[in-house]
């Protein structure tokens, strides 16, 4: 989550406000690593989350969606899966942007569209992971 917010709110807008050459170099250096890092962290978090739900005493997967705790956990789960999918979608935009900058074949309009898409998806992703963490963190008290 921290990495997603860091990328969406801090890093990407700052990189975009520099130069296209710098953006290209940084995307080459970081985009695959970022995707790998965020995907791995998300997968580990979700898999262990499922394991935790089924091993928590007095709770099971059938509780999802019922009662305060189950509803909050289900909302968190849906938000985290949605964030994960959106993160993958953003990764596709990053790859298009990187290829466009590298080949020099993409028009400025296309590059702008990729940047805008990446920015919007990054912010949506950040909001979704905040929702996921917030609902999970407060589920016990719901």
């Amino acid at each position: 989550m921290g990495a997603a917010i860091y990328l969406a709110v801090l890093l990407e807008p700052r990189i975009r406000s520099t130069s296209a050459d710098l953006e290209r170099q940084l995307l080459n250096r970081t985009s695959k690593l970022n995707s790998l890092w965020i995907t791995s962290a998300a997968v580990v978090t979700m898999v262990t989350g499922f394991a935790l739900v089924s091993t928590t005493p007095g709770r099971s997967m059938s509780d999802l969606g019922s009662g305060g705790w189950g509803t909050m956990i289900l909302i968190g789960l849906i938000a985290s899966v949605a964030a994960f999918l959106i993160s993958g979608w953003a990764g596709a935009f990053t790859a298009k942007l990187r290829r466009g900058l590298e080949s020099g074949e993409a028009s400025e309009t296309e590059l702008t569209a990729y940047r805008r898409g990446l920015s919007i998806l990054g912010y949506i992703n950040a909001v979704l992971v905040v929702i996921a963490v917030s609902t999970m963190a407060t589920a016990r008290y719901a």
């Binding site: 997603a4 860091y6 709110v9 130069s19 710098l22 250096r29 970081t30 963490v133």
Partner: protein, 166 residues
């Protein structure tokens, strides 16, 4: 629903996740990648990012620590009896201590990086061998301290997360 506890948990956990996630990502993914691009790119990115990054990291860290202390007093009364005499308390004070140490080390690392950027910004042309050596040393020290700080705050998170179950 205990609204006060819910609010405290949100104000502790969400900034905590932002702080630790950002610190780990910056130390182990971004900083090495930016360093590999080398000057002038690394300097340009860091100069552009330093203010929002510093604000985000300090604000989230301080909020996490302060609200954590408030929450500890709220959930256990009298707190100090529980801190020294229970496993929960041991994990909580250990986590709190590690988070403060991690924050301090991260801040020192940030100061090293800031000094390096200041030298870079003051240059009129290519750096002299002494300046280049100093910048390299500062960059290495900043990167190392950031990595140590991120590892320490990860251990702090583990202590806090496991406190209820030991």
């Amino acid at each position: 629903m205990d609204a006060e506890i819910v609010l405290l948990r949100l104000l502790h956990i969400v900034p905590g996740v932002v702080w630790v996630g950002s610190a780990v990502f910056m130390a182990w993914v971004m900083q090495p990648a930016i360093a590999k691009t080398g000057p002038p790119h690394s300097g340009a990115v860091m100069r552009n990012m330093v203010n929002p990054m510093v604000i985000t990291l300090h604000a989230s860290a301080l909020l996490t620590i302060v609200i954590g202390v408030v929450m500890a007093f709220r959930v256990r009364d009298p707190l100090f009896d529980f801190l020294w005499s229970t496993d929960w308390g041991t994990m909580i004070w250990l986590g709190a201590l590690l988070s403060v140490i991690g924050y301090a080390i991260g801040t020192i690392g940030g100061i090293s990086s800031k000094k390096m950027m200041d030298i870079g910004a003051s240059l009129q042309g290519p750096p002299s061998p002494e300046q280049a050596a100093e910048m390299t040393a500062l960059q290495k020290r900043g990167a190392l301290l950031t990595k140590i700080a991120s590892a320490i705050v990860l251990v702090a998170v583990a202590c806090m997360a496991l406190a209820q179950h030991v």
